[in-house]
């Protein structure tokens, strides 16, 4: 039978895992809000980020933080170029083509990463070793605490960016109505590319922070699908909704794996299907019926 301690332990693990999903989902939601493109390659941005940080830290001789910043920036450049060179050309095509396009990017990134860095699992040394004792017999890894802190921190920074800065408000305007934003003289194209860059940078940061838990190899991008499921549970259009959904998925998962081990790994999708069945727009809806 489950002890209270076990329940708390599972819940804490789930919370940390949920925050990790949330960190990945942040980038998804940003890009979706700005361009209505669901970036299926987001998990691969994360994977590339982890590899980039690894490569930079090898280049710089093992120091983590400069490598972290440089790695995130380089993936940001990749994100910017992806939008400016390719995604911009296919605006207005059917959503099926756009989905397939981002999935294809995923394939390309994974193959390229494998070709450059090899297909073996690598290890990224981070300053987040050790464990923190919360109560007796209950401890949590510093790496997981770092993820929770980073998620909260990034949410705060993004909130301030979108509500206080000139660029942030312009991005909000562009995401609400692109054409109207053009008429107001907002450089929508550049803003959209910058949004892609920010999304990619968040993904890269997530990849580097998750590296102690997931290790670094070409398959960690699949975590992105679960983050996507979490974001959908909450409602894709809003950042708080997506975070809520990710936390929910993260907390449900360890319990489901504990009680029903047959469905290990797929419980997130069951939760998502159930939620979508009851509320087709997710828990916090962002779509409205058009009035004629």
């Amino acid at each position: 039978m489950l002890q209270v301690n076990d329940i708390i332990h599972l819940a804490v693990t789930g919370l940390a895992q949920g925050c990790a999903y949330g960190l990945i989902a942040l980038g998804f939601v940003l890009i979706y809000k700005a361009t209505e493109v669901v970036n299926f390659a987001h998990g691969e941005f994360m994977m590339l980020g982890a590899f980039a940080v690894l490569a930079w830290s090898e280049f710089l001789g093992g120091s983590f933080w400069p490598a972290f910043v440089l790695g995130c920036l380089s993936i940001g450049v990749v994100g910017y170029l992806i939008d400016a060179q390719i995604m911009r050309r296919i605006i207005g095509q059917s959503s099926a083509s756009i989905f397939i396009m981002t999935v294809a990017f995923g394939f390309i990134f994974r193959s390229l990463a494998g070709m450059i860095w090899g297909w073996k699992t690598l290890f990224l040394s981070t300053p987040f070793g050790g464990k923190i004792e919360i109560a007796d017999g209950l401890s949590i890894g510093v790496d997981r605490v770092a993820i929770i802190v980073a998620t909260v921190l990034l949410c705060g920074v993004l909130y301030l960016f979108f509500s206080r800065t000139r660029y942030g408000i312009a991005m909000q305007a562009a995401s609400q109505n692109q054409l109207a934003a053009y008429y107001m003289g907002i450089p929508v194209k550049r803003l959209v590319s910058i949004t892609w860059a920010i999304g990619a940078m968040i993904a890269a940061a997530a990849g580097a922070l998750l590296a102690p838990i997931t290790m670094v190899d070409t398959t960690i991008g699949f975590l992105g699908i679960k983050a996507l499921a979490g974001a959908i549970v909450g409602g894709f259009g809003s950042i708080p909704g997506a975070l809520l959904g990710c936390l929910l998925i993260g907390i449900v998962e360890p319990f489901a794996d504990y009680f029903v081990p047959e469905i290990k790994g797929v419980s997130a999708y069951i939760v998502m299907l159930v939620v979508l069945f009851i509320r087709p727009q997710g828990l916090i809806s962002q779509t409205f019926e058009k009035k004629v």
């Binding site: 361009t35 209505e36 669901v38 390719i86 050309r89 296919i90 605006i91 207005g92 095509q93 059917s94 959503s95 099926a96 083509s97 989905f99 397939i100 396009m101 999935v103 294809a104 990017f105 995923g106 394939f107 390309i108 994974r110 193959s111 390229l112 494998g114 070709m115 297909w119 692109q178 054409l179 699908i225 996507l228 499921a229 959908i232 894709f236 259009g237 047959e262 469905i263 790994g265 797929v266 999708y269 069951i270 998502m272 299907l273 979508l276 069945f277 087709p280 727009q281 997710g282 962002q286 779509t287 409205f288 019926e289 058009k290 004629v292």
Partner: protein
């Protein structure tokens, strides 16, 4: 340029209107019927696999290309069809009964999925179908008593009305029969009110609703038809593979189907066939490239997905209408010979289509 004079009622309802079309289709049919005479067994079984994928592609095309509902989960119907048929015939059910039962089962599952999906749209639907696929794959793997799990399931040989049809050329003709049936059926569907309603829902749900189309029911119908046809492809695939395991019907298979119809050309039956040809020819080209390229590049394990990805990206950016669109342009060039202009197929300026208001 050919000018058409319609002198009989049959001219008006015929599938193939122009002489050129009739000649081309006749040539393709003649080739397909005569293929077993001159093709080696290996190429013949590749060709019959191509026919199976073309059927699956048409199934997905009805849903995604004609009704506008994106599904990343169609490999699930392929899997359900293959397993259901294999289990039925291994219990001694005759082929004909089993095919019909499998198609009905797939159709019903598809309608159930469509019922829950009729409220969703866009990528919510795409992800929901993806999750459905993952669940079906897990189910096929975990339900050991029925499917023999990950150990695999051997499919009994094909027997129709007592006659054993195990040879490659016999299976080929069975596949050919079914694909002709599906193509004629699909072409007819889109001349009927039901099919027209599919198109209306794809182009604008709002205007379809204003015209009195029951949008939810149309989506359910579309899912049902599409799933039944994909299930049929699953049946034929089971005989083609002769050994089933759940991994075959995974996310990659679904993406392959999606790639087929997007690269082939969304919104045309011919596009699905072109897509099937492409994905059958591509592995041959890639294995050829592996020999030609320097070993440092050619022997990399990631080369195949990389080329797949690059081809998709190039097609979507440079030729959004797919292979079918390119074929249409070439045909138009010859049909209207001196009059073809570069601007003949220039698209309108396109803007972001929002899904938040619908």
């Amino acid at each position: 340029m050919q000018i058409l004079f319609k002198t009989r009622y049959e001219d008006d309802i015929g599938f193939l209107v122009k002489t050129g079309e009739k000649v081309r289709v006749g040539m393709v049919l003649a080739f397909l019927f005569a293929a077993p005479l001159f093709l080696q067994t290996y190429y013949l079984s590749e060709l019959s696999l191509l026919l199976v994928y073309a059927i699956a592609g048409i199934g997905l095309m009805i849903l995604t290309g004609y009704t506008g509902q994106v599904s990343f989960g169609h490999a699930a119907f392929l899997g359900i069809g293959a397993y259901c048929h294999a289990i039925l015939i291994s219990h001694g059910v005759p082929f004909t009964v089993s095919v019909v039962a499998t198609m009905i089962l797939c159709g019903l599952v598809g309608m159930a999925l469509g019922r829950s999906a009729s409220k969703m749209h866009g990528f919510y639907l795409a992800i929901a179908t993806l999750a459905f696929l993952i669940l079906v794959e897990t189910l096929l793997g975990e339900w050991v008593s029925m499917t023999n799990g990950y150990a695999g399931f051997a499919v009994p040989g094909m027997k129709i009305l007592g006659a054993s049809l195990g040879k490659a050329w016999q299976q080929y003709y069975v596949n050919l029969f079914f694909i002709l049936l599906v193509i004629v059926g699909a072409a007819n569907l889109f001349r009927s009110p039901t099919g027209r309603a599919f198109l209306a829902v794809r182009d604008s749900e709002l205007s379809a609703r204003s015209l009195g189309v029951n949008v939810e029911w149309v989506k359910i119908q579309s899912f049902g038809v599409s799933a039944a046809i994909t299930g049929l492809a699953g049946v034929l695939l089971a005989h083609q593979l002769s050994y089933l395991s759940p991994e075959v019907f995974g996310v990659l298979e679904s993406l392959k189907l999606m790639l087929m119809i997007v690269v082939g050309g969304l919104g045309s039956i011919l596009g699905a066939v072109f897509g099937a040809i492409l994905i059958s020819v591509l592995p041959i080209v890639i294995s050829f490239l592996k020999d030609v390229l320097p070993p440092a590049v050619g022997q990399q394990p990631g080369l195949e997905p990389l080329l797949f990805g690059v081809i998709i990206v190039l097609f979507i950016v440079l030729e959004p209408l797919g292979i079918y669109g390119r074929w249409m342009k070439i045909r138009y060039f010859f049909e209207t010979f001196p009059y073809y202009r570069k601007s003949s197929f220039v698209r309108q300026k396109s803007y972001l289509k929002t899904e938040r208001l619908r």
